[in-house]
């Protein structure tokens, strides 16, 4: 059946764009409704003190424009986001771009360190029997340990030996992005089957030749999958790493100071900024993945 034979309506219905748009619209609608529901008690209380009666429309308008709402309406978050990014000089302490950059730089440093270390460890595990037997179980077991819990300790200990700023956060990011890369990379380096390995043997390939020409290329798809998980994890690590330093700078600090002073809109705009960063980073890895696979003669 050709495309034209399918009616337009069912084609749109069967696509992915419309359902996603509908779901997102529903989420925003629920958000607005939730803002009314959660902010109404305060608005009613306030009106009760001033002894004025609120009409339904006034009540709704009030719940969507409070200064410290329980749940800010989406447009308030967008406004705050706009004000603190485009509307503020980038050098200002209120600029969200500046905070985002601080978090992003720690994320990228940690991600680079973590994936580099992860790849090296995976190569070691695949090539050395002892390392495979003794280290690999610990790598897997460490996934079940809530590693984020030690973030405050790492920050404080490194601070007390004079290391502060970007590096402690980067180390936490490294810890988080390192495990998915090891596991994915080991799986990838082991993915060539017996036939392919035997073929390399019949060509009298050395271990390093087998590695560079067979194992590494076949590990690339696995690597990119785990890099996507790793980059999202290292952003979480950088944000958590900013909490115990006393809320100086960065997206995590914006969240913490927002929760201290009840600035809910500030928390939400930091949260949205973090979400944008995460999406952009994962998308960027995706672009790199497609480009690499194309260069390699893409499948």
């Amino acid at each position: 059946m050709s495309d034209a034979a399918v009616p337009l309506r069912s084609r749109i219905w069967a696509g992915q764009v419309i359902p996603v748009v509908v779901v997102v619209a529903a989420i925003i609608a629920i958000w607005y409704a939730g803002a009314v529901w959660l902010n109404a008690p305060w608005a009613l209380d306030q009106a009760g003190r001033d002894e004025v009666e609120l009409s339904a429309t006034e009540l709704v308008a009030d719940t969507w424009s409070q200064e410290r709402p329980v749940l800010p309406a989406p447009h308030q978050v967008v406004q705050d986001l706009w004000k603190s990014t485009i509307g503020t000089r980038i050098t200002s302490k209120r600029s969200l771009f500046r905070h985002a950059w601080i978090t992003l730089s720690a994320t990228l440093a940690g991600f680079a360190l973590g994936s580099g270390l992860g790849i090296l460890l995976a190569v070691g595990i695949v090539h050395d029997r002892t390392m495979n037997a003794s280290v690999m179980p610990w790598v897997i077991a460490s996934q079940t340990i809530p590693i984020l819990a030690i973030a405050p300790m790492i920050i404080v200990v490194l601070n007390s030996i004079g290391i502060s700023g970007l590096l402690p956060k980067a180390i936490i990011s490294m810890y988080l992005s390192f495990f998915p890369v090891v596991v994915g990379m080991v799986k990838g380096l082991r993915s060539p089957n017996k036939m392919l390995l035997d073929q390399m043997h019949t060509w009298n390939a050395s271990r390093s030749q087998t590695f560079w020409r067979l194992r590494l290329p076949s590990a690339v798809p696995y690597l990119f999958t785990s890099l996507k998980i790793g980059v999202a994890a290292s952003l979480v690590g950088a944000i958590i790493g900013e909490l115990p330093t006393g809320a100086v700078a960065g997206l995590g600090a914006r969240m913490l100071s927002g929760s201290y002073y009840g600035q809910t809109v500030q928390i939400w705009s930091a949260l949205v900024m973090a979400a944008i960063l995460a999406a952009a980073l994962v998308a960027l890895v995706g672009v790199a993945e497609r480009a690499t696979l194309r260069v390699m003669g893409g499948r």
Partner: protein, 279 residues
């Protein structure tokens, strides 16, 4: 210099023993002994380094000191586990995974929702949801309810995506066979599709065990009553009592691995038919 050589020698000898053990056949022992040996070696080298170089306990306490802290503070540590794990993480885990499972079945029934919600779910699963923790603490107060709430949020989407993927795991032949038996939607669901979905469901459940504990601990950094693992870690770090922090981390690691192990054991029981569990 002499001390450094000594420590390096201990490491090398242990590594050689390990290499010998892991090379000697494929028996049961040669599978579990190397990781144990490796762990013990790390502990011994750690202890030696701390003693020989006289590293301040404020930086890195020795394993023996951590053990002492563990034994001396059992009551406090247990109280923290009850507060954070049993009240916060476990209730949130049950609610989050349970509701995601039910929503997953519903989503699977409605193709429109499936196409719309799955990409959104995949997107949300990559977001730093843990950043919602301060908001949850504001909404639900300092006690365990706010921790359970953030755990629900963190577990929901990974579990949803896995459930929906699992329900799609049966192939046409199997479903056609069910139809020739004249079985309806519910019968097919209960007797074919849910069992087939179990490997995916357990994958989601296993991912969520770690997320649950992390969520509950990190949420306590934003405010908690005067007990709980996250509270203890952040306050003891502030007092520079690092042996206590390490004791708490040990407990967190034990609880986390125990929880994961329990779910993995249950998986083995339920999905005994799956190729990865047959020998």
């Amino acid at each position: 210099m002499v001390q450094l050589i000594g420590i390096a020698a201990v490491w090398l000898v242990a590594w050689k023993v390990n290499a010998w053990v892991s090379a000697s056949g494929n028996s049961r022992i040669s599978r579990w002994l190397p990781p144990v040996l490796f762990g013990v070696t790390v502990l011994v080298v750690w202890e030696l380094a701390v003693r020989v170089y006289d590293i301040s306990p404020v930086l890195l306490p020795a394993p023996s000191a951590i053990r002492v802290a563990l034994v001396e503070n059992t009551a406090v540590l247990w109280e923290d586990v009850v507060q954070t794990f049993f009240r916060g993480a476990l209730s949130g885990y049950a609610i989050g995974c349970g509701s995601a499972f039910l929503v997953g079945i519903l989503v699977d029934r409605v193709p429109f929702l499936k196409r719309g919600l799955l990409p959104v779910g995949n997107f949300v699963a990559a977001l730093p949801i843990i950043g919602m923790a301060p908001i949850m603490v504001m909404w639900f107060g300092f006690d365990w309810q706010s921790k359970a709430a953030i755990v629900v949020l963190m577990c929901f989407f990974p579990m949803l995506v896995n459930t929906v993927q699992g329900l799609a795991a049966t192939d046409h032949m199997q479903r056609d066979l069910m139809r020739t038996y004249a079985s309806g939607y519910w019968q097919t669901l209960v007797k074919l599709r849910l069992p087939a979905a179990m490997p995916f469901v357990f994958n989601g459940l296993k991912i969520c065990t770690t997320l649950a504990l992390i969520g509950a601990i990190v949420a306590e950094f934003f405010g908690s009553p005067t007990k709980g693992m996250g509270f203890r870690i952040s306050t003891e770090v502030g007092r520079l009592a690092l042996d206590m922090v390490w004791a708490e981390i040990t407990v967190a690691a034990l609880v986390g691995s125990g929880f994961y192990g329990l779910v993995a054991l249950l998986e083995k029981r339920v999905t005994f038919w799956h190729p990865s569990h047959r020998h």
